[in-house]
Symmetry: C2
Subunit: 248 residues, 2 copies
Amino acid sequence: MIKIALIGSGNVAQHLISAFNENAETQIVQVFSRSPFAFDNIPVVHDFNELAEADLYIIAVSDDAIVGISEQLPFEKRLVVHTSGSVPIEVLSSKNRKGVFYPLQTFTKNKKVDFKSIPICLESESKSDLDLLQKVAGSISDQTFKISSEQRKSLHVSAVFVNNFVNHLYKIGNDICAENKVPFDILKPLIRETADKILTLSPNEAQTGPAKRNDNQTIQRHLDFLSDETQKNIYKLLTQSIQNGKDL
Amino acid sequence: MIKIALIGSGNVAQHLISAFNENAETQIVQVFSRSPFAFDNIPVVHDFNELAEADLYIIAVSDDAIVGISEQLPFEKRLVVHTSGSVPIEVLSSKNRKGVFYPLQTFTKNKKVDFKSIPICLESESKSDLDLLQKVAGSISDQTFKISSEQRKSLHVSAVFVNNFVNHLYKIGNDICAENKVPFDILKPLIRETADKILTLSPNEAQTGPAKRNDNQTIQRHLDFLSDETQKNIYKLLTQSIQNGKDL
């Protein structure tokens, strides 16, 4: 049984706690939380000095708070990892063994996710620590990857495009529908199919639409239709980018 | 049994033929195709003068070709519809009764779609024609909507954002991964979850990421990381748009 102490009680922390709690290979021995927190019968501490002995300390807090916490930990030479996509491994305090345990998914409060299909990106300073991280990650997910800090940074930037920015395009679609009194629900099957398509086709093969086929008449009609300047600019820039697209 | 003649043999036409072919309420009596075409035992004609009597003529061809075909039809006062998202109903020749039958989905060659969940947007000049179109659409789909040409235009523009542009953001994510030798597959569960999320949350509620939380440090790190000017500009513009986002 691998003993884990979880530092943090936010969104990612909660999803991790419930995933680890459901399997027999790992045990959450403690949760550290600044604010009041309760989860089943897991002991919660509010002072770093009360942290118990564990095989792995997972810091699951906001990016800004990681460095400070790693420096405040009152012990040495133990394995301490963070869960961030964009923070390099080196920023962790050198008094402990450093690592990264980054589950690449968008976590929504109160919406359970199936951890089995969530890729977990791992990084460590030694082979033995990587083995431990792989065992821990493998206990909750079928997809574990050894990823360097530089690669992780590229994944995080990509994730902003395919998640944050994609969601913003959904919002623009929603706004246009609302302005024209059309139910946004009509677009949901299309949104679903667009995401499903690239499970089997490359994004390049899946590309369709007026920009792809250089249908300048339709493009012009769409630009005339849009009244919001920002929407117009996004339409123009993405259309140009599709038209100039290099194939990798 | 409602008799349908299908004019066109491209992607949308083929998906419609196979959907109509599977139900008992409609019958494809003929397909008009300029090029050689075969589908089960459906009669194919290559000359407009050979078009048989039908309750409904569906023109499923590229946007540019719709007007010309509607004018060449050698009969009058029959119900003739097109399947385009962006072409107004008025452009159809006035010698026949006009209508629109627009299935809002992205159709991929050789990838079967479940027509039951595809919204079909209908428009006509009379109540009785709308009744017929609703019967025909209802025979293949559970979702039929009465949508005006102006509303349909707004849907089509929205669809460009949530389908064409979203797919292009997938491509950028794919390009960034390829440049950094990270498998794009790691991002697929995130892509899937991003699309699934807005089935239950509004895009506004679902928005996360550095732009949403005004995390300017991460935004700057991402911009420093990106070397491609177009990618940088898209990142900046979409970030600004999220930060200025008005809530509807």
